[in-house]
């Protein structure tokens, strides 16, 4: 984890401690100091600070004596250990300590010039007490930093888990969920590589840092272990640390999620195992639910297809009408910024909008030439009949709306309800535009198919009366975008129509 702290700024704390020890009672000129690579900022004896350093600890490398400069690097001259004299002539004694994991020098200076060369026994005794205290404070600081690291790491993990649960809810594709889960796991566990070895033996990498590029073969042992025991395992793959755990699937088989650290990094611990286990349980649950959902979606789709086949069989001379209706409805819904789920439902509505024609007698539906007013009244029943057919099975309100209202006109002259303007559900307005376009570009017994551009003009001319402007504009944009961005697909779908391959033929 990147969030880790080392004890720092401990220097000031040591300074306070040493000043307290020197105390007001001691000789004014005698003082304790602590310097070394782990002491920030350095705490030279007050005496040195005043006499030799001009009051600034930054001056140690420039103006400090050889003794102090060496001590700042953690070095201690042998003769100073008991007692000696500094280059300026003061009596000095030193002890070696460890601060912040580095060697440091604790020293005391007696500056009573021209005082005794020997630091008195009381001074040495004080030095020994200080050494003990400095060592204990350093341990406490290290402990404190350790606890702080632990808490910070937990904070980081909590945030990652929180983000993961939120992000995962927005994804519907199983592989994408799996990839996100593994990427987040790699971050949580400070892994350099992550992937899933499927029950079938396929390796799906989600994170592949070069430093942890691992041959899936190296994972075989731990993967087999996880499959056998169905619980999290730690081990090594090559010389990388690896942690692996089971992702239970709906079919009862187990995919194995693996996270690797680069060679040389710390092995995975008990905390990592707990974290992996709980997140894999969560992830496995989400993935299983998603699979279940995908299966239901597939089943619904099959029901829809069966119904569409039934419509097309009945009304064969508009063959492909349902399929095009579904496709163009989805395209328009997408243009309007509908969510993927809404687009799907709208596509079904587009596919199924004429399902009620199943209930219209064939001699009317397929009658060549003009219909009598009575026959037309029968035809007009098809939205209602479609609604009745789908109501027991369609769990989506949007589909029912689309089917029931796809012959309503903005000016209120449509059927079956005579709704006006915005009272007509959007899905129905879109289907109506799409339906009109498809009818215009199809050959009927009483007229030739219109070229694409002519059909678009007819629709434009009816905007506001029989055609909803919002849906129509979105349809125009979606259609043009499709023609521009996917010319090959466009050609396959609409190339047979006149004008399908030519740009804007008048």
């Amino acid at each position: 984890m990147s969030s880790s702290i080392a004890p720092t700024n401990g220097g000031r704390l040591f300074g306070d401690l040493l000043r307290g020890l020197s105390g007001p009672s001691g000789p004014e000129s005698r003082s304790l100091g602590l310097v070394g690579p782990g002491v920030h900022p350095p705490q030279p004896p007050e005496h040195c600070l005043r006499l030799c350093l001009g009051g600034s600890v930054d001056a140690i490398p420039r103006r400090g004596c050889a003794l102090l400069a060496g001590a700042a690097r953690g070095e201690i001259p042998a003769d100073a250990l008991r007692n000696g004299r500094c280059p300026a002539g003061c009596a000095v004694a030193a002890r070696s300590v460890r601060v912040n994991g580095e060697p440091a020098v604790l020293l005391t200076v007696n500056g009573e010039l021209p005082g005794p060369a020997v630091a008195g026994a009381d001074l040495l005794g004080q030095l020994d007490r200080a050494q003990e205290l400095v060592q204990r404070v350093d341990e406490l600081l290290a402990e404190n930093a350790g606890f702080a690291n632990e808490v910070l790491q937990n904070y980081e993990q909590l945030n990652l888990i929180f983000d993961l649960t939120r992000e995962i809810a927005q994804i519907t594709e199983s592989r994408a969920i799996e990839r996100l889960l593994m990427q987040r796991l790699a971050r949580l566990l400070v892994g350099h590589g992550a992937g899933v070895c499927s029950a079938e033996g396929e390796w799906r990498a989600a994170v592949a840092d070069e430093s942890a590029a691992v041959a899936p073969a190296a994972l075989e042992a731990i993967v087999a272990q996880v499959k056998a025991q169905r619980q999290v395992q730690v081990g090594t793959a090559g010389n990388a640390a690896v942690i692996a755990g089971p992702l239970a699937r709906l079919d009862g088989r187990v995919d194995v999620a693996c996270v690797l650290r680069a060679p040389g990094a710390a092995p995975f611990g008990a905390g990592d195992m707990l974290l992996l286990e709980s997140l894999l349980t969560f992830g496995g649950q989400i993935l299983s639910n998603n699979t279940l959902h995908e299966r239901l979606r597939q089943m619904s789709l099959e029901v829809v297809r069966a119904l569409v086949a039934a419509i097309d069989k009945k009304d064969h001379y508009t063959s492909g009408h349902s399929e095009r209706g579904g496709f163009l409805t989805r395209l328009t819904a997408q243009e309007l910024g509908c969510s993927p789920a809404e687009q799907q439902t709208m596509e079904w509505a587009g596919l199924l909008h004429d399902v009620g024609k199943i209930g219209v007698p064939e001699e009317i539906l397929c009658k060549p030439g003009k219909l009598t007013p009575e026959e037309f009244e029968v035809i007009k029943q098809h939205p209602r009949m479609g609604y009745e057919i789908l109501r027991p099975i369609a769990s989506f309100e949007l589909v029912l709306d689309g089917v029931l209202y796809h012959h309503e006109y903005p000016d209120g002259t449509g059927y079956p309800a005579g709704l006006r303007g915005d009272a007509i559900p959007l899905v129905a307005r879109i289907i109506h535009v799409v339906d009109t376009f498809d009818a215009l570009t199809s050959t009927r017994s009483y007229r030739q198919a219109y070229p694409i551009e002519r059909a678009l003009e007819v629709i434009r001319a009816e905007m506001g009366t029989r055609i909803d402007p919002e849906a129509a504009e979105a349809f125009f944009r979606a259609f043009e975008r499709y023609r521009r961005e996917q010319p090959e697909d466009f050609h396959v779908r609409f190339g047979a129509l006149r004008g399908g391959t030519v740009e804007a033929s008048p």
Partner: protein
Amino acid sequence: MSRILVAEDDPHILRLISLWLTRQGHTVVEARNGIAARELAQAEPVDVLVCDVNMPGLDGLSLIEALRSTAHVRRGVVVLTNRWDHGDLRDRLAAEGIQVLPKPFSPTRLSEVVAALLAAVSVEPGGREPGAT
């Protein structure tokens, strides 16, 4: 060197934030409540203010209000808030260019946000408006 004022009434969280930001190389000034924070900032300007929302005496939002449009906070403000009132508050504060982090804070995100504030716009001494960078 950047000077960061941390105002937080929970002493442990205050220490944690302080330790973490110190570790990132910042000089951290600690305040246990809003009033102390206001006095510290007024005594010597800080680059960034990291503050809690709920504090006795002077709460985080009032503290920001009190220090706004003065040179006491030079680069920007990070507000730490509870998850559950995160959404609303974030929108409101974001509109004023204030960063919001939910508690418990993500250490990495906190240091990223602070670093971004320090790097983004330099405000001229005297607290004039940032130049168009």
